[in-house]
């Protein structure tokens, strides 16, 4: 099974061949490295940019203006903060020109904790990014969705932000990507570690890759249940699924939704589920104050106050300046499996 990093590579390759993807660029994105997470290895349009995040986003905007589709990578979202006004610019260009210009461009960046990344390799970016109108924002939690969401980004006519949960980059899924060979993918598309073998290496792209897309704005129910709705995305999503599995042994039936798109987001799916379960827990790992989950709670309260039998809850990262390096610190700073299990129990316990 492909990993998320391999899924990204294959989607970008498909884009190069079929969707006029003309530039994949960023720091260490081209040869020799192919990206710090290998997500751009072997791609014919990948190139290294100067170490300049503002320049990278600016260049992406300009390429989009010139009709050249591109994917620009910010090496870690921890380093995207100096480019926020460029992200705002991309997001306001269509609006500020009253519909004159549109910017088909994609920015991708690894987010979140989970690799013992300490202060500057553990940031989340969903809260900040969802404050910027004019973008479509996606965050997959498995390789198949990674492929499908990235293909959708490459077809979009608006700026798209592709957030990559970095702790999961090398994890496989349990479903094959359409066109993915059932085995042997690594030998085909991973650059050999051996220096001599890497020298003239060329990837052998699976020939049957398809247009498989996951519609932006559509979430997915990953566990069905009737007792509580749990909405998550990215690194915490599989933990929520695990928590649901664990609690099912106690008779608690949690419905887990993988939001997949943060903007637009699948409110219809969330609504239906809340009306069924009458309670909801939102889980993500960004810092908890002015967190995207707070918006979802606001909307939940606005629209479903009288349908709820328990206060809606948000489980998120602690509101602290960073994630500390030590294992004990990271575990205490961002939601882990046991926190999710407890949070689900506490919401269920508070049901009237």
């Amino acid at each position: 099974m492909a990993t998320i990093a391999q899924a990204i590579r294959m989607a970008l390759h498909y884009g190069e061949e079929n969707l006029q993807l003309a530039h994949v660029f960023g720091e260490d994105v081209g040869l020799p490295l192919g990206g710090v997470f290998t997500a751009t290895q072997g791609l014919k349009t990948a190139w290294n940019s100067p170490l300049d995040e503002r320049g990278i986003i600016g260049a992406a905007i300009g390429l989009a203006m010139a009709g050249k589709r591109c994917v620009a990578e910010i090496q870690f979202c921890d380093y995207i903060f100096n480019a926020i006004d460029l992200l705002k610019l991309a997001g306001n260009t269509c609006w500020s020109t009253n519909g004159d210009w549109n910017l088909p461009m994609t920015v991708m960046t690894p987010v979140g904790s989970g690799i013992r990344g300490s202060l500057y390799h553990s940031h989340s970016f969903d809260a900040m990014m969802t404050h910027i109108p004019g973008w479509k924002i996606v965050i997959p939690s498995n390789p198949k969705d990674t492929y499908g969401l990235l293909i959708s980004c490459l077809k979009e006519l608006n700026p798209t932000m592709f957030l990559m949960p970095k702790a999961m980059m090398y994890l496989g899924g349990d479903e094959l990507i359409p066109g993915e060979p059932a085995s042997g993918l690594k030998a085909l598309i991973d650059k050999p570690v051996d220096k001599a073998a890497a020298e003239n290496w060329q990837p052998q792209w699976p020939p049957e890759l398809t247009d498989y897309s996951v519609e932006i704005g559509k979430g997915k129910i990953v566990r069905e249940g009737t007792d509580i709705t749990v909405v998550s995305y990215g690194r915490t999503l599989p933990l929520c699924a695990k928590a649901a599995d664990q609690l099912s042994q106690e008779g608690i039936k949690a419905e887990v939704i993988d939001l997949r798109s943060l903007w637009p987001y699948d409110w219809e799916l969330i609504s239906k589920s809340i009306l069924k379960t009458q309670c909801v827990l939102y889980v993500n790992e960004d810092t908890e104050v002015t967190n995207f989950g707070e918006h979802l709670i606001r909307r939940t309260v606005d629209e479903f106050f009288y349908n709820l039998s328990a206060p809606p809850k948000l489980l998120a990262g602690a509101f602290i300046p960073g994630v500390g390096l030590a294992h004990s610190l990271e575990m205490a700073s961002v939601p882990q499996l046991n926190n999710i299990v407890e949070a689900i129990r506490s919401v269920i316990a508070s049901k009237v």
Binding site: S49, D52, G55, G58, G62, K68
Partner: protein, 327 residues
């Protein structure tokens, strides 16, 4: 240095008068409460008009891309922009084609002519320009990317970024990088903030060809722009051109929009030369002035009859072709 022929000089003069009167009309509109804010380029005409006249105007990679700042009305007027559209933007009319009443005066956008939207954050245009220049580098031909901005803004890292990206070895960008230096950033004198002799000198470190010119001299501007453009179009490499210009009405309406007699005015400078060369008479100049003044006054009257933007339209075009509330 090439000398500008008489016909072109007269054309430049005509456009300079028209552009000056447009800016003065916009300032008057501000003072008459016919607009919330004015910012523009009076004092930069002797550089901006010759620039606009030499742009390869059109849509797509074979034509020039323009990444401008808020003092660039002269460039666009020389390219043929309808002054009424600048007046519409001043009045935030619903018919303002640049922003639909959403943005300040002087914040133009004309996709049909590769004019990227002018935006308020200083210096970001020097980054966006990198992208169109990369596309044009790959495309070949003679289309180039032109970017301009003021002197104070070059302290932003974005300016340095532009020089780095434009001069990557073997991947140089066909980019005309312009700084219009009026020696002010709102109220701050360049002398108090900049130790470099010329901003253009910063190009030397990157092997970028540079030139510093008197942007108040039409002949000098026209020739320098012509040479710089020829170089960028044919060599497909960047050129950094610094033009010393005037800021005739202060920074913006926020500083009063008052004429500053201490600044050199390029318009009478040119007019003296034209009169001395018997190309124009003082009377003809006055007639021209009166003609444009009247035309622009009528346009400013007409814009009052246009509708203001529909409040229901606030969500429109957050996304491409989207109308109405989108969530």
């Amino acid at each position: 240095m090439t000398t500008v022929d008489s016909a072109t000089l007269l054309k430049i003069h005509d456009l300079m008068v028209k552009n000056r009167l447009l800016e003065e009309r916009l300032i008057t509109m501000f003072k008459q409460n016919q607009g919330f804010f004015w910012i523009g380029g009076p004092g930069e005409e002797a550089f901006n008009i010759p620039l606009g006249l030499q742009v390869k105007k059109g849509h797509g990679l074979d034509y020039d891309y323009l990444h401008l700042h808020y003092r660039s009305s002269g460039i666009l007027m020389a390219m043929g922009m309808d002054p009424m559209d600048a007046i519409r933007q001043m009045k935030n009319s619903a018919l303002d084609p640049h922003s639909g009443g959403r943005n300040f005066a002087g914040h133009f956008s004309m996709r049909k002519w590769n004019v990227a939207p002018i935006t308020s954050p200083i210096e970001v245009q020097y980054l966006v320009a990198i992208g169109t220049a990369i596309a044009q580098r790959d495309h070949g031909g003679t289309g180039i990317t032109i970017v301009n901005g003021g002197d104070a803004g070059t302290a932003e890292g974005d300016f340095a970024s532009c020089l780095v990206w434009a001069s990557r070895p073997k991947q140089e960008l066909p980019m005309l990088i312009i700084v219009t230096n009026n020696e002010w950033g709102i109220s701050t004198s360049a002398k108090t903030q900049h130790g470099e002799k010329h901003i253009a000198d910063r190009g030397n470190a990157f092997g970028i060809k540079t030139q510093v010119i008197n942007g108040n001299d039409v002949n000098e501007s026209f020739a320098a722009i012509q040479e710089a453009m020829h170089y960028v179009r044919t060599q497909r490499k960047p050129f950094l051109l610094e033009a010393k210009v005037s800021r005739l009405y202060g920074h913006s309406s926020a500083s009063g929009g008052m004429f500053n007699p201490n600044e050199e005015d390029p318009l009478p400078l040119l007019q003296k030369k034209l009169i001395a060369a018997n190309l124009l008479s003082a009377e003809a100049i006055e007639t021209l002035r009166a003609k444009y003044e009247e035309e622009l006054r009528l346009l400013a009257d007409q814009v009052k009859t246009e509708p203001q933007p529909d409040p229901h339209s606030i969500y429109d075009f957050t996304y491409w072709q989207q109308q109405g509330k989108y969530w």
